[in-house]
Symmetry: C2
Subunit: 409 residues, 2 copies
Amino acid sequence: MSKSPIRFTVSATDGFARTGLLETRRGVIETPVFMPVGTAGTVKGTRFEELEAADLDARIILGNTYHLWLRPGIETIRAVGGLHRFIGWERAMLTDSGGFQVWSLGELRRISEAGTEFRSHIDGSLRFLSPEVSMEVQHALGSDVVMVFDECAPGEAAADEARRSMELTARWAKRSREAFDKLQDVATPGDLLLDQNKVGGTLAVPVVQGGLSGKQALFGIIQGATHLDLRKESLARTTEIGFDGYALGGLSVGEEKEVMWEVVGEVAPLLPVDRPRYLMGVGTPEDLIEGITSGIDMFDCVLPTRNGRNGQAFTSLGKLNIKNARWTRDLRPLDESCSCAVCLRHTRAYLRHLYLSGEMLGSILLTHHNLAFFLDTMRRVRQSIRSGQFTQFRREFTERLSTARDADD
Amino acid sequence: MSKSPIRFTVSATDGFARTGLLETRRGVIETPVFMPVGTAGTVKGTRFEELEAADLDARIILGNTYHLWLRPGIETIRAVGGLHRFIGWERAMLTDSGGFQVWSLGELRRISEAGTEFRSHIDGSLRFLSPEVSMEVQHALGSDVVMVFDECAPGEAAADEARRSMELTARWAKRSREAFDKLQDVATPGDLLLDQNKVGGTLAVPVVQGGLSGKQALFGIIQGATHLDLRKESLARTTEIGFDGYALGGLSVGEEKEVMWEVVGEVAPLLPVDRPRYLMGVGTPEDLIEGITSGIDMFDCVLPTRNGRNGQAFTSLGKLNIKNARWTRDLRPLDESCSCAVCLRHTRAYLRHLYLSGEMLGSILLTHHNLAFFLDTMRRVRQSIRSGQFTQFRREFTERLSTARDADD
């Protein structure tokens, strides 16, 4: 049996919910896992030392093919030895394929069988992204998990549009797989530097003892909008090609939330049990719990970082708007049951002052707390699954949120 | 002999340059010292954990009366237990009196014998700042070193204007002293909470063994623009009142640099040898060395933080503009002889990418390095004075800078 780039082991289940270990060439990741988003090579406002610190301890972060391809550009990334070396991060990284980003450009892009032509949002230059280009870029980035280049359909896409999109995604998945496999014969700049040219910081996560191939992993993406038959067909066509993990894409893109959960609830349990399942771009803490209930293992979302910059904190009692005048002299931390570095040190009164004064530190601290809250929630979820108490945890977690409705109230 | 709020001991000298210990109620500060500026209760873009970390180890930071009085306002600061508690910082803090800031407002302010009337830059409301109000505000802030409320004259002020301003400053100094002394009979909110209501973080600096009064210290400010006779008169009138330390104000405000150094060189050595000497608002690393040569012990300046946000790094080879295209693929740290957390981890290539992408992390990391460079330079200065090699250190430091001219070249 040939070596795999990753190894995934489920260690406990509770209904469809499951917890396990995802071993990568850059350390072990406990699942379910939330991946902070580092679009342009930085988790906005967050130092890598903080991501590594015990209160966050992010084992894997996201990078974005579209953004990094446009800036600084792939020749630069190659020249400096891959994305990890470029940004100074030694733990695992997953890169999105750029499919979603070019799709989001709307009128600025034109999709054909070959790929997607679009204008750069930075300099207006004409660019072309395809399965082959995306694989080449992600190979140069040297990410540990590569995503296939897919096409997304709007959340409310009718059956014919969703079918066309799903079928294109299936053909692109095949081309992605082929291009990816050829590239894996060539070491990436990141591979070359792995263990050899240690950058600052510490890995500080359990290192895989061996048995992995040291190559990049490739995940397939299931599309089909809200149409269950199309989703199931997409699943069959994607698993037939065969990938190291499977993602649900094209969700949380305009459809009703209950429709999304119907799709996830139906499709996730059908994904191969021995491969990690990734729900792309989702969501709130409640959404994460809901996804886990259906058997999802991996999540990413900009909410903790973006909302942090906009003055919104996620807490165990719901969202908290730091601009609210009622916090003016409030000496409590953002969340009284949180033990992140920000909650141990700073008060709502101070964070409100920073935010109203337009001080950068306000965004920095709110982002930190939000990431800590998301990551800690995942830790508690894993523990509850291990102890067979996930259902109870879920009920208490959501009841607490729905009773409080909002920490501002 | 009654207890003092601070104790200052010179431990070694080399010419006029001197190194010593400034003991405050919130820890011991080695001098010469550079104080990072935290205008609105935050050293912009910098977490307090970083200020405490070994590569920065800032023992004292600045706060600003003007800014904090306007926002969040003194009632809020009082209600939350003083400035230290408000921002979550247990080490020493010095607050400027607001004199310089209202003077900087130009046409927005009107100065009379009683004080300065001005319009808030935040909401346009009419405000009045005087020696008495400034002392009251600084008392409520609970800073460890309070500055008298002074009046500044333009760098190029003629003798009559400079005299009028210096005399007003002398009268205000007396009023400041009197108002301050009365207030010291009342415990500040900060005092009340000292040692009793520990906030997050660790003091992690040697704690004074005793013998201090636990009260705030008050520093006088010498004015007189570039007129040596007025400076000497100001010095006499200020020392006659008697303060815990003495500052040179009204420098680096438009006068020629060599004129400034003539004033510092003449006046600093005349200041009481047993009291700390503070050169306000100065300056570049070369300026700090120059000031130390004349016997200055304390400095503050926005350069490391402000220039860091604008993409400029201070290095041992001069200033470095991170936007420069030549750093696109440069794997070197900002300063190859720097061992701050940023230089140990990140490359010029990455920092340039962050800056060009408008990413907050670029400002955060450049600010950190700049503060580390300033603070480390002070450490090396102190060491050189202790070993009697300050003159040599100074020559090598400035030669290195002037040979390289600029790290960009």
